[in-house]
């Protein structure tokens, strides 16, 4: 999210979103953040035998690491990337 702040928001973001219901692409992770999160993701994925699921039907993923990921992204008030693991989630899309 720091990356986004440094790259200022597109001026048409809100108007485009309101008119069309979506907006993309928006850069949010710099290379260092991305690599760290990819490493963390695969570490968890491999440790859990190729799944991020803790319940649900095939491919219906409850998200045990989502909260920590959110924190790692700086999207919550939890601060900068630290530990990845644990968290909460749901089974929606």
């Amino acid at each position: 999210m720091e990356f986004m702040m440094q790259n200022s928001l597109p001026s048409d973001l809100k108007n485009h979103y309101d008119a069309n219901g979506y907006y993309f692409p928006l850069p949010v992770l710099d290379e260092t953040e991305l690599q760290e999160l990819q490493r963390s993701f695969f570490e968890f994925y491999d440790k859990n035998e190729g799944t991020t699921a803790i319940s649900g039907a095939a491919g219906s993923i409850s998200d045990p690491i989502g909260d920590s990921f959110v924190r790692a992204l700086g999207l919550s008030s939890g601060g900068p990337p630290e530990n990845i693991g644990g968290g909460r989630g749901d089974s929606r899309a």
Binding site: L9, Y17, N20, Y22, F24, P25, A58, R88, R92, A93
Partner: protein, 200 residues
């Protein structure tokens, strides 16, 4: 967060998050649907940030949207419980969707898209040799109410919550709080609120 703030305003809650992972050979897909149909969140001050950790394009099953469909109201939806459908109920719009109108939200690693709770969206199978990995983070304003018997939970992302419509969970930190317990509570309440027959 700045992009989400530009759309929803300064006061923001995180209602949930979910990984969407399609590895090569994975046969899962996501049928056309509208989140608003089954999330029971009103008013629709809800946006999803979909953050890509891998390339996400048509060849590996990126998210697709029908632009402007959030303005058309809710379409009828059926629960199929299809085995390879990654949605919790296999929910699917019960009407013909004109796929020629669909737009691929192509993302590079480290980029995100935002989409409205009412937009028609879905994704196809990963037909490539590349993984497709992303996480969806659901943001809402504190003014949103979720119709559920048990008080729903959320995390304050920034600003203030003067409404009290959600039980605010502590943000993840390293204080030693049992995250698995918090996760279990949150997941149970959410599943009760969105799955049929689990409202009570």
């Amino acid at each position: 967060m700045a992009a989400v703030e530009a759309i929803l305003g300064h006061d923001l809650l995180i209602w949930g998050s979910r990984w969407f992972t399609k590895m090569p050979g994975d046969t899962t897909y996501i049928s056309w649907h509208q989140d608003a149909t089954y999330w029971a969140l009103n008013p629709p001050q809800v946006t999803t940030a979909w953050v890509a950790l891998s390339e996400s394009g048509p060849e590996n099953g990126c998210m697709r949207v029908l632009p402007g469909s959030h303005k058309g109201g809710l379409m009828p939806q059926i629960d199929t419980y299809a085995a390879d459908n990654a949605l919790s109920r296999g929910q699917e719009i019960a009407a013909e969707v004109d796929e020629s109108e669909a737009l691929d939200l192509v993302l590079r690693p480290g980029e995100m898209s935002l989409h409205h709770i009412g937009i028609v969206h879905g994704s196809q199978v990963n037909h490539s040799l590349k993984p497709r990995i992303g996480i969806a983070i659901r943001y809402i304003t504190p003014a949103v109410v979720q119709e559920t018997h048990e008080k729903p939970v959320a995390v304050l992302a920034q600003g203030l919550d003067t409404y009290g419509n959600f039980e605010l969970l502590p943000p993840p930190d390293d204080s030693g709080i049992d995250l698995q317990e918090i996760q279990s509570t949150a997941a149970r309440r959410m599943m009760k609120s969105i799955l049929p027959g689990k409202r009570n």
